[in-house]
């Protein structure tokens, strides 16, 4: 029961997932729409409680044990509660205020202000770190150690040269050669890898539906 029931559910929902693709009849399609838009969304929402519980627990343990850097854990905990309270009670639409006022004078602390003022700059700066990491990774890894590494290096090099106006003027063919590398060898490699990936996805999906893959059941009976 404890293992069988979940395996039966996997089989049934798996077959249902397949049917949505081949049966256009509303009996299947409408059920699928309800399943996806209502049922899965509602079920998924509950897992978030577990997630939030986990991150809070992680930091409370650090605080309790006074683990290294435990003081910073307070920042996460306080920021989480404050922003959740602002969001839950202040509403999500700035034009329709909730129970909690989110404006003091000209200063707004609405959840959308937190989003644009904190989450967006923090996120896009993390993203921008890539400009530096690309440079350092290229410096370390692009060495002509063997044929494979040399090819990696040379084709990256050509693409980068193609982006510099000066070299574009000197070697007129460079940009189109760079495009050719993207369009021909690059496509071939990606497509070849893609076949293997699709087969791997198929095999794994099949193993799950048939109950061969059971690691996700976790421990116990």
């Amino acid at each position: 029961m404890k293992r069988k029931l979940p395996l039966i559910i996997v089989l049934v929902t798996g077959i249902f997932g397949v049917l949505t693709y081949i049966i256009p009849h509303p009996i299947i399609q409408d059920t699928d729409a309800v399943f996806r838009n209502d049922i899965l969304r509602v079920i998924g929402a509950f897992s978030i409680v577990l997630g939030i519980g986990s991150i809070l627990r992680h930091h409370f343990i650090k605080i309790k044990r006074k683990a290294e850097h435990w003081g910073y854990s307070w920042i996460t905990v306080v920021a989480l509660f404050v922003s959740a309270i602002i969001g839950l009670f202040g509403g999500i639409d700035p034009t329709r205020p909730g129970l909690l006022p989110t404006q003091v004078g000209g200063f707004s602390f609405h959840i959308q202000s937190l989003f644009t003022g904190l989450i967006v700059p923090l996120g896009s700066t993390m993203f921008a770190l890539l400009a530096f990491f690309m440079a350092s990774a290229a410096y370390r890894a692009f060495r002509a150690r063997n044929l494979e590494a040399t090819l990696l290096l040379v084709s990256a090099f050509i693409l980068m040269l193609g982006a510099v106006p000066l070299t574009r003027m000197i070697v007129r063919e460079l940009p189109s050669f760079a495009e050719w590398i993207l369009a021909v060898p690059n496509t071939a490699a990606k497509r070849g890898i893609g076949f293997g990936i699709s087969l791997g996805i198929l095999a794994t999906s099949l193993k799950i539906i048939l109950g061969i893959e059971r690691g996700w059941l976790g421990g116990g009976e």
Binding site: R3, P6, V10, T13, G17, V18, D38, L40, R41, V42, I43, A45, S47, V49, L50, I52, Y72, I75, V78, A79, L80, F81, S83, I86, G87, L88, I92, G117, L118, P121, T125, M126, A128, L130, A131, M134, A138, A156, F157, L159, A178, I181, V184, P185, N186, A188, A189, K190, R191, G192, I193, F195, G196, S198, I201, S205, L206, I209, W216, G218
Partner: protein, 209 residues
């Protein structure tokens, strides 16, 4: 200099600098920004789930006496919490099984159609491909590359005999392709940094106008 007056611009600028300070080394300034980021993004996650998922998909309809079967979905969702009750903790497998089974079933035929059939069609070279000899030649090179790359991924045979040179050509294609992807992405990533600097130097400090 034309400093910004909007407090949120200042907050954003300080956060931007805190993250960039990571490039020098991991430091208290970054650590604080990182912990704040995790906290606020979770607060936003909670808000979004409540206002955009639970209220419209569960609380509103059920509150108005509609779609009462949604309560059943809520009960299944609540099974996640059985994890904390050792005796019935296996029930947590039920909601997981629903997601897992449905996801696997959805991907089964779709990955055959998009990942295999469509790609086989795209790779086969026909006489029509040679209407333009150059296009035909490139298509042949792609064909060779695909065949060799697939060969590289054979697991159940040792790379010996004819497999060895073929899979070696495969890895050559892979490396050339990956190098190209890397080189091509550099421009976009630098643009991201330029965007942040334009914010710092322009919107915040007012140095570039």
């Amino acid at each position: 200099m034309n400093l910004a007056t909007d407090p949120w611009v200042w907050v954003a600028a300080i956060m931007t600098l805190a993250v960039f300070s990571f490039l020098y080394k991991e430091n208290p300034f970054y650590r604080a920004a990182e912990h704040l980021f995790v906290g606020v993004s979770n607060g936003y996650f909670i808000t979004f789930t409540w206002h955009r998922v639970l209220v419209p998909s569960l609380i509103d309809p059920v509150g108005h006496g509609q779609k009462l079967w949604l309560i059943l979905a809520a009960i299944v969702g609540a099974l996640y919490f059985t994890r904390f009750i050792p005796k019935i903790s296996w029930l947590v497998r039920i909601p997981i099984a629903i997601f897992l089974g449905y996801g696997s079933g959805m991907s089964l035929l779709r990955s055959v159609e998009a990942g295999i059939i469509a790609q086989v069609k795209a790779t086969i070279v026909t006489r029509a491909t040679f209407a333009n000899w150059q296009a035909g030649l490139w298509a042949l090179i792609i064909l060779v590359g695909v065949v060799c790359t697939i060969t590289y991924f054979f697991f159940s045979a040792e790379r010996k005999g004819v497999l060895k040179p073929i899979s070696y050509v495969g890895i050559i294609f892979v490396m050339v392709g990956f190098g190209a992807s890397f080189g091509y992405t550099v421009m976009a990533r630098i643009s991201l940094f330029i965007g942040r600097l334009q914010f710092l130097l322009g919107d915040w400090l007012g140095l570039i106008r």
